[in-house]
């Protein structure tokens, strides 16, 4: 049987791979997409169940997913099995690598918070006085952000704040703020802190994934083939040209080894899997920085307070409920001198009930407290920016392989005093706001979950103008191997406090249009 030939191999099917397929096929470029896992069938593969019907009463099989705090017995089969595809990390520095290999990847399950990075992040070195800036600015990416926001139908309230760039939002009518949110806003504003609303992708029919917003159009061109359960082992290279000429992959079920030849390779497997593939292929790393500058955001800092007048059944709809969102407000200019660089955003939610673990009580006494505090709580939690540092890195652990014999990643990431100081400032600040509002502080923590927990890992193939200090150029193209592009979060130079999805999608769109033009002119 004649084997089809393709112009571009796309590895991975999440947001970045879906966008690459969408753009490239729209330009008439034939693409093969290899996805490491199967296609999920929402009708067949899931069912509404009581926890008592599950083998472990909702606890899940003990020890199955020790690094996925988000896992429970209901969703355990969504995640990559840690025994099937393990990774290693130092015993004193756990890393939570949360992975999905289903077709569509993590785009199936993301929280849909949709922000643009600002020039505080793109030009970070200028404001921080240290570190590196991106080789691009917000102005370079803004047209692509706009198109992505339209595809994903992002809602948001325009503010005109430079640290919180506005987008092309779907207009919605926000319900009036409740009295608790008004009270909070008043206090924050008094301190010069702007309070806005969350920005969220509506998507279509409740889903904002590559499988419903990007891949159907690509398939409709007839220029895209998707293969499931195809695990890419290594990128192959033409010895004469030094260019990539395809990839070796293995069938997930049978272990059958295959090879596909293509003119260009686009990596979109999620930043750590793309980097793992490049490291295992031993290409593209003349700079020596591949795998370095791994970074993600800090989650875990939280303060919860109770509104006294809302207790004992008096949490009326006019008093409690609703939310507020505070984008970065620290270190907005060079004069804001603190014991940390970077910043954090704060999400405020009103009207929740207290968790049992908030109180050192049990039995009837605990139940009485929970009843009294029901719907009376206001919570504040942060997404904080970590500093991208060389020493936080991944490398190949040649002594451990996955189920298919592919060497796994060793991940090493630790927080510094900058992260700890930032988190302390965040917890103290939120506590101060709540205290000033006259609310009872129930609990407060400046403890951060392990790196990776945010599921926003980026970096490890950072972009830059200098091939000696970066892996990719500003088009997400390998400095060393011109026909390899990495369009997921691996190219990030700084992570910001923002959910990275809109930026990943915009970078992928921009890189794919550049690639299409390069292919048209035979420059690639």
């Amino acid at each position: 049987m004649p084997v089809k030939t393709y112009d571009v191999l796309i590895v991975g099917s999440g947001h970045s791979g879906g966008m690459a397929a969408n753009i490239l096929t729209s330009k008439g470029i034939s693409c093969l997409m290899l996805n490491a896992g199967p296609e999920a069938d929402y009708e067949k593969d899931r069912a509404l169940k009581h926890a008592y019907e599950l083998p472990y009463r909702g606890f899940d099989k003990p020890g199955r997913l020790p690094h996925v705090f988000q896992a429970n017995e209901f969703n355990a089969n969504q995640w990559v099995d840690e025994k099937e595809v393990p990774y290693t990390c130092p015993s004193d520095a756990p890393y939570n690598w949360v992975r999905v290999r289903l077709l569509g990847g993590r785009s199936l399950f993301w929280a849909r918070q949709s922000f643009r990075l600002s020039n505080l992040e793109f030009k970070a070195a200028e404001i921080d006085g240290t570190g590196d800036s991106w080789p691009i600015s917000l102005e370079d990416l803004a047209p692509f952000y706009s198109r992505v926001e339209q595809i994903f139908r992002v809602t948001g309230r325009k503010e005109g704040w430079p640290q919180f760039p506005d987008g092309d939002f779907v207009e919605i009518t926000y319900p009036p703020d409740t009295d608790s949110i008004k009270r909070f806003t008043e206090i924050a504003n008094k301190q010069g802190v702007g309070v806005s609303k969350w920005r969220s992708a509506l998507g279509k029919d409740g889903l904002a994934s590559s499988i419903n917003l990007l891949l159907p159009d690509a398939l409709a061109t007839g220029k895209l083939d998707i293969v499931e359960n195809a695990i890419v082992r290594e990128i192959s290279v033409d010895k004469n040209t030094g260019l990539a000429n395809g990839a070796h992959f293995v069938d997930r079920h049978s272990g059958r080894e295959m090879h596909v030849k293509t003119r260009v390779v686009v990596l979109a497997a999620g930043c750590l899997e793309s980097t793992r593939l490049l490291l295992n292929s031993k290409i593209g790393n003349s700079s020596g920085v591949m795998g370095h500058y791994l970074v993600d955001q800090m989650y875990g800092v939280s303060v919860v307070a109770s509104v006294p007048e809302a207790r004992d059944g008096k949490a009326s709809p006019g008093l409690m409920g609703g939310n507020a969102f505070i984008p970065r407000f620290r270190n907005l200019n060079k004069n804001d001198k603190r014991n940390f660089i970077k910043g954090y955003c704060v999400g405020i939610g009103s009207g929740s009930s207290a968790s049992p673990n908030f109180f050192p009580l049990y039995g009837e006494e605990l139940q009485a407290k929970l009843d009294s505090y029901a719907n009376s709580c206001v919570s504040g939690s942060i997404f904080g920016e970590r500093v991208a540092r060389y020493e936080n890195h991944v490398r190949i652990d040649s002594e451990v392989t996955d189920r298919w014999g592919i060497p796994v990643l060793h991940i090493e990431a630790r927080d510094s005093d900058n992260e700890r100081n930032l988190c302390k400032d965040a917890a103290d600040t939120i506590e101060e706001w709540f205290h000033e509002a006259g609310w009872e502080i129930i609990c407060k923590t400046d403890r951060v979950n392990p790196p990776g927990y945010s599921i926003h890992e980026v970096g490890t193939c950072r972009m830059g103008d200098d091939p000696k200090k970066s892996v990719l150029n500003k088009w997400c193209q390998s400095h060393d191997v011109k026909n390899i592009f990495v369009v997921d979060g691996a190219s990030f130079v700084t992570c910001g406090w923002q959910n990275p999805t809109m930026t990943i999608l915009s970078l992928s769109m921009r890189a794919s249009e550049y690639l299409a033009e390069q292919m048209r002119t035979n420059a690639v």
């Binding site: 067949k44 593969d45 926890a51 909702g58 049990y362």
Partner: protein, 223 residues
């Protein structure tokens, strides 16, 4: 091949040989001189189950057919665990308590299947409570009255901003863990669901202790 096509083919695969065997059978049992009394009818093809005809049988949940048989903890440890269930999660507001929901029995199973660190935490915690009780009150923890037990338990309770935040002190950590586990095992029980439905709540998404369960999505991913 798509997996769903593969499954369909598997289901259809046995039909062809079986039909062939059925149509051949009469000729092998009829000798040439025996004339059939009536003209043979066209053989009726025996109906086979199609993929959509397989009946769905009513099965019974295992919890309704037998009692759990705790086996992991020692008798003394299990008695302490039951006492903790009665104290920490008693029946309240028409909901079952931990003992009604057989939460200690379930935890005996869960911990028996858990990694070493969880097993060690439980054994240490249960033994420590019992030992402290014998030192302080000269009787096992399971025989303490509520006031006596409270004198041991209350100093061990801590505020935890997140459920996954555990204190470093091992006994305080155990109390936090067993409290969480007893609550979850109780609120995720069949008994709790029945009580909720009795009070007028219907089984929909968001119903306590329910959700969309994802089946193992392909044969490799069995956990």
């Amino acid at each position: 091949m798509k997996r769903r096509n593969f499954v369909q083919n598997l289901l259809l695969a046995p039909v062809a040989p079986a039909v062939a065997a059925a149509t051949q059978a009469p000729s092998s049992q009829t000798t040439p001189h025996q004339k059939p009394a009536t003209e043979p009818k066209t053989p009726v093809r025996e109906r086979r189950w199609g993929p959509h005809d397989v009946p769905k049988l009513d099965l019974t949940g295992v919890d309704l057919t037998g009692q759990p048989a705790p086996h992991y903890f020692t008798a003394a440890q299990f008695a302490t665990l039951r006492k903790l269930g009665a104290l920490l999660v008693p029946p309240l507001k028409n909901n079952p308590g931990a003992l009604d929901a057989q939460a200690p029995e379930f935890l005996d199973f869960l911990i028996s299947a858990s990694p070493d660190d969880r097993q060690n935490l439980y054994r240490f915690g249960l033994d420590s409570l019992d030992s402290q009780s014998r030192d302080q009150f000269q009787k096992p923890f399971c025989d303490l009255d509520a006031h006596q037990a409270d004198r041991i338990l209350r100093p061990l309770l801590v505020v935890r901003p997140w459920s996954e935040d555990f204190p470093s002190d091992p006994l305080k950590k155990f109390i936090a863990q067993v409290h969480d586990d007893l609550r979850t095992a109780t609120m995720n029980s069949r008994e709790w669901a029945a009580a909720s439905e009795k009070s007028g709540r219907h089984f929909t998404r968001g119903f306590r202790g329910s959700g969309y369960y994802w089946f193992p999505i392909d044969p490799i991913n069995q956990g």
